[in-house]
């Protein structure tokens, strides 16, 4: 019998709420599910909210009775905030989080590299936002609780599964024992130690690195800006790397690499933690400040992915699908992109708009993204925590040279998480003008945001289905285009038509954006009347035309549904 702890987790700044377990005996009419999501972490909850937005109900099974322990993922990228805006929690995160743009790397007391990632006025969100994962999960849980299409079941743990072509039969353990749950589709969002992955006997491919890091949260009042601090080879931890990040609520995250051979148990001894954290504080000139420990854990870098995120009727997302190093904030930030992508692909299949073959596109695109991330993260990891004598020599040579030689300093930049571009996606239009544009986001790229006015940005108006952006100064959408759009809608394709460039309402468009100063046209490389962009439900670009005509639009829309 599954007995999750009903004691609130301990924290000096976060008040854990313990939820009531969902018990089958109290829900005798519980029916077969369309989609079951295992895991109520960031990836699972985002998938549930996006599925609901596409009209697909889901049951979310969470083994625990409360949100996760410790700050865990603390840095969220602009693209993550844009995705979280789609599910309705970005504003709370922005209000409570700490935005930042700069990172600093130090060696022998000298700042040898400064990463500058300035905030563009056209972006609603900063390049990075720091907030503890508990808050993110709490806001997602509250959004889920307000969403009638999602049935969130606390204290429910998947312990068995069988599947065939028709669906998945789950055995779920709860504090009163097990029950059976059938579903058309199962989404495995159950994290790094995914039970679903283990039950299916699936193996991840890639590399595990030996370098271990302690990650610790302390409460301390430090008069330092919200910028990433990285210290290489500090005197108190020779050869190793130390990172510091400010978090909300007076908390700082300190990550430090352990000397080779030290065990996690030894590293987490209170006296070991205390003296090393004290050394880190001394290094930034604040050894005199009082501080208090909140949470600590040990972490080692891995670059692993499943080779396929679809296994029959089971789909993988987030850490259940891949394990990525924390350097470059690639864990949760990759998970949001997975779940946003998974949700629309699965929704189209679950609603019968596309065949299950569409799901292989999800897998292809996101496995491709994971492999790209692994390639980049591997480079960062080999610099941060060199795995062999050769890599250590090269890293140490670069540290030494960086004191005087500009050309090696960019090696300190560990390629922060960025959205993958689906350049070769099967969903990209074959007969559009992609290559003839001189600017703007190309095939497969995420959209560019544009400031339209006070607290008003282009991406505020997009998402939830396909978006066709039609650039016109005229009073109406051409009749034959509109007929093509209507025909696609009749076939069930959710498609919103937004006219950009006209100062008054445009007949036939769902919305008109004036773009008086031409910023949207400029950011999208649009030079003339009748240009258009087609965005997928995850907002990535899948087609663009210098001058759209009904025939080519029809071909593009048919392509989406014929996958």
């Amino acid at each position: 019998m599954h007995q999750p702890t009903s004691e609130p987790r301990r924290s000096i700044y976060y008040d854990y709420q313990v939820m009531r377990p969902w018990l089958a005996a109290e829900h005798p009419d519980s029916a077969r599910a369309k989609v079951v999501i295992s895991g109520a972490g960031p990836a699972g909850l985002t998938a549930a909210l996006e599925l609901a937005r596409h009209g697909v109900p889901s049951v979310v099974l969470e083994s625990e009775l409360q949100v996760s322990e410790g700050s865990r993922a603390i840095v969220f990228t602009r693209r993550s905030l844009e995705i979280l805006q789609q599910v309705g929690v970005a504003q709370r995160l922005s209000e409570d989080g700490l935005p930042w743009c700069f990172g600093n790397s130090y060696y022998r007391g000298q700042r040898v590299f400064r990463m500058e990632n300035p905030h563009d006025d056209n972006d609603r969100f900063f390049p990075m936002l720091n907030i503890q994962q508990q808050y993110l999960e709490q806001y997602l849980v509250e959004a889920v609780q307000a969403q009638p299409l999602i049935d969130l079941r606390w204290g429910n743990r998947v312990v068995g599964l069988e599947q065939d072509e028709a669906g998945v039969r789950l055995e779920v353990d709860t504090p009163e024992g097990t029950y059976r749950l059938e579903t058309d589709w199962l989404v495995a969002a159950d994290g790094a130690r995914s039970i679903v992955r283990n039950l299916l006997g699936l193996k991840m491919e890639g590399t595990s690195y030996e370098g271990r890091f302690v990650i610790a949260d302390i409460r301390i009042d430090l008069p330092l800006p919200t910028e990433r601090l990285a210290f290489f080879d500090p005197p108190w931890n020779p050869g190793n790397t130390v990172l510091m990040h400010r978090e909300p609520h007076g908390i700082w995250r300190i990550d430090y690499q352990l000397p080779a051979g030290e065990t996690p148990e030894d590293a987490l001894q209170p006296e070991s933690l205390r003296s090393r954290i004290q050394s880190a504080l001394e290094q930034v000139g604040h050894a005199d400040k009082p501080w208090e420990m909140d949470w600590s854990s040990v972490y080692s870098a891995r670059t692993l992915t499943l080779p396929d995120y679809v296994c029959g009727r089971v789909l993988f997302t987030g850490d259940a699908a891949h394990l990525l190093p924390i350097f470059g904030v690639r864990g949760a930030n990759t998970g949001f992109q997975d779940s946003q992508s998974l949700a629309w692909h699965l929704a189209f299949v679950a609603k019968g708009l596309a065949s299950p073959k569409l799901l292989s596109n999800y897998s292809r695109e996101r496995v491709g993204a994971a492999r790209e991330i692994i390639d980049e993260a591997g480079k960062s990891t080999r610099f941060m925590a060199p795995p062999t004598r050769g890599f250590r020599l090269l890293r140490d040579a670069v540290l030494s040279l960086s004191l005087t030689q500009e050309f090696v300093r960019p090696l300190y930049h560990w390629r922060t998480s960025r959205p993958h571009e689906y350049t070769g996606s099967a969903l990209n239009c074959a007969q559009d003008d992609n290559a003839r544009f001189h600017g703007g986001p190309a095939h497969g790229a995420p959209p560019s945001n544009v400031k339209l006015g006070d607290d008003d940005y282009l991406l505020d108006h997009l998402g939830g289905g396909f978006d066709l952006l039609y650039f016109t100064e005229g009073p109406a959408i051409p009749g034959d285009l509109l007929e093509t759009v209507e025909a696609a809608r009749k076939n069930g394709l959710p498609l919103r038509l937004t006219a950009i460039g006209a100062s008054s309402p445009v007949r036939g468009a769902d919305k008109a954006i004036a773009d008086a100063d031409g910023h949207v046209r400029q950011r999208y490389g649009v030079e003339g009347e009748g240009a258009a962009y087609l965005l997928r439900p995850d907002q990535h670009i899948c087609g663009r035309w210098l001058r759209l005509d009904a025939e080519r639009l029809g071909a593009a829309l048919t392509r989406m549904l014929s996958q």
Partner: protein, 63 residues
């Protein structure tokens, strides 16, 4: 490998002595680090990863 600019005998002898002295100056603990730094500086001056790779392959021979 067929660089148009090669060392003449006098130049080669000069570099030979300088390298030997620098390795001794760096000492047994740091000579390896010194040589890697030097390799990176030279690679940057060459400005061509394929030439650097050819040099790496040549240097790996007959160890």
């Amino acid at each position: 490998m067929n660089s148009t600019k090669a060392l003449d005998i006098a130049g080669l002898e000069e570099v030979y002595d300088q390298l030997a002295c620098a390795i001794d100056q760096a000492g047994p603990e740091k000579s390896e680090l010194f040589l890697v730094k030097l390799a990176l500086l030279n690679a940057n001056a060459l400005g061509d990863p394929s030439v650097v790779n050819a040099h790496i392959q040549t240097a790996l021979r007959d160890l």
